[in-house]
Symmetry: C2
Subunit: 303 residues, 2 copies
């Protein structure tokens, strides 16, 4: 089923304890789309780049079967650029520099033939823009939304208006605590689901993820990696695997949502193995199936 | 099957954001034994108390079917006493006062009829004393051991000698990192299992627990509690449920170990609901089965 992805396209300069990577393809929409492309063959991407983005990167996305007609290229403009540094434990990072460039004026225009998409993924952008996207879509079956502390602190009222319109919110544990104002994640989930999204996923990094629905709670483990090379994009890669799996099966039953969380976790576990999107460009279907099976085995118990 | 538990018996003064509880029955052996008593009906307890411990507390343990002949009562002595305060997030605590009293001279003597026990649980005591216990046991089928940062820092060489003799080590994530010297838990597990214990359980509090064996890794979720009233003894209660379940079934296959981890988690989730051991004194078998089922449901996926 058709999947619309709206978010940022960027170049990242990444510093980790293992080395640096400059001018790396990044942005939330990039990671979501590449990850989802392993499941869905009808992905439409909306974002904005400068003329420095390059045909190579467009072709890379197209090679994954992604429809790039919705990418606006601003002639003479420069693509969004982020510079960050990870600490030794890889759980915390500092943003060293942000240059919004063409992204500062981003006004998402959804091409006419994208407006019937059944599944919509709103990457981490201004909640006002997220609503603007939804106003242009006719009747999506499921809308998934990401956000971050920047919007929770900076535009809480706008964010709440957007949350009333989405079905699934994907955030991390510190964002959930901040958005709800409660340190307990179970209470947080109840508060946030009361804001609109009936389905909530709280990502806990090396501790896995929690899925909250009307049917209860699902606890997904994290893949026990011996080393994390670069966490950049792992959260977006999770979202891409999650929504890509759902769009492929065109089903939002509890069991499909749970499997989608594990497929999202599977994709994220690959993402952190190399710099930027290097690893998620090159995974085989067999590798995905093998790792998904490893995830199942992590919590398998025979009665 | 027979289960020998050796550890501390204490009185605790506990301060939490929800209130205080003074002169509360505590100590590692207390929590382990009460928790294990829901599974095993052949539990033998070795510890030391002062004459202030009181017949009521002995009778409480006996009412759970626990053999208390191995509890040494030092006439005129005072029982070990611990005072601690939990912070708002309940994840960290300060020890305000420790009075070892009769525990300072504890020399565990295993009564003759305890020496054939098939299962042995060494609570968190001096690793030299843990070895002294093992020297008095003929041929246990499985030995499980707890320790803490105090011994990892203070007696690392003695601890390592003890670890060579035990089958199962149960520690929390920060202790695992400290003992191994590696921040990554998967690497930590490999290092620690190389020190002796072929089975390692790393408790992660609100993030569940990891079981490492020769067959792989099992990730147990934590029960998503809306509030934690008092975490005192939760780790020992986990160990008691784990070893009690194993002793009951007299089986150490992978699937039994995995179920034992979930039963340990089940018991610990009850423990934190009231002060000290108040809650784990009064659980019904039906409540235990219901919550165990909830744990299974937390990670259930249909293929």
């Amino acid at each position: 089923m058709s999947l619309l992805i709206v978010g940022s396209l960027a170049f990242d300069n990444i510093e980790t304890p293992f080395g640096n990577s400059d001018d790396t393809l990044g942005g939330s929409a990039t990671y979501v789309a590449i990850s989802a492309s392993y499941f869905s063959d009808d992905i439409k991407l909306v974002g904005v780049v400068g003329s420095d983005f390059g045909d190579d990167n467009i072709r890379l996305l197209q090679s994954k079967g992604i429809d790039t007609e919705g990418i606006q290229v601003i002639e003479g403009g420069k693509t969004f650029r982020w510079t960050g540094r990870y600490h030794y434990d890889m759980n915390t990072r500092d943003t060293l520099d942000t240059q919004l460039n063409v992204f500062a004026e981003f006004d998402p225009v959804i091409p006419h033939r994208y407006q019937q998409c059944k599944y919509v993924c709103l990457g981490n952008i201004d909640p006002i823009l997220q609503r603007k996207v939804l106003e242009q879509i006719s009747r999506p079956k499921l809308t998934i939304c990401d956000t971050m502390n920047f919007w929770i602190e900076g535009k809480p009222d706008e964010l709440k208006k957007t949350l009333e319109l989405v079905d699934v919110l994907v955030i991390n544990d510190s964002e959930a605590r901040q958005l709800s104002g409660d340190p307990n994640l179970v209470k947080s989930a109840r508060i946030i689901r009361g804001m609109g999204p009936k389905i909530l996923i709280i990502k806990k990094g090396e501790h896995g993820a929690l899925l909250f629905t009307e049917n209860g709670i699902f606890a997904a483990p994290a893949y026990p990696l011996e080393s994390i090379f670069d966490p950049t994009g792992a959260g977006d890669t999770f979202a891409g695997g999650f929504i890509g799996y759902i769009a492929k099966h065109d089903d939002i039953s509890e069991n499909t949502l749970r499997k989608a969380v594990l497929y999202g976790s599977t994709m994220a576990s690959f993402c952190v193995e190399k710099f930027g999107p290097d690893r998620i460009q090159e995974i085989s279907d067999l590798e995905i199936q093998d790792r998904f099976q490893s995830f199942l085995n992590l919590s398998r118990i025979e009665d």
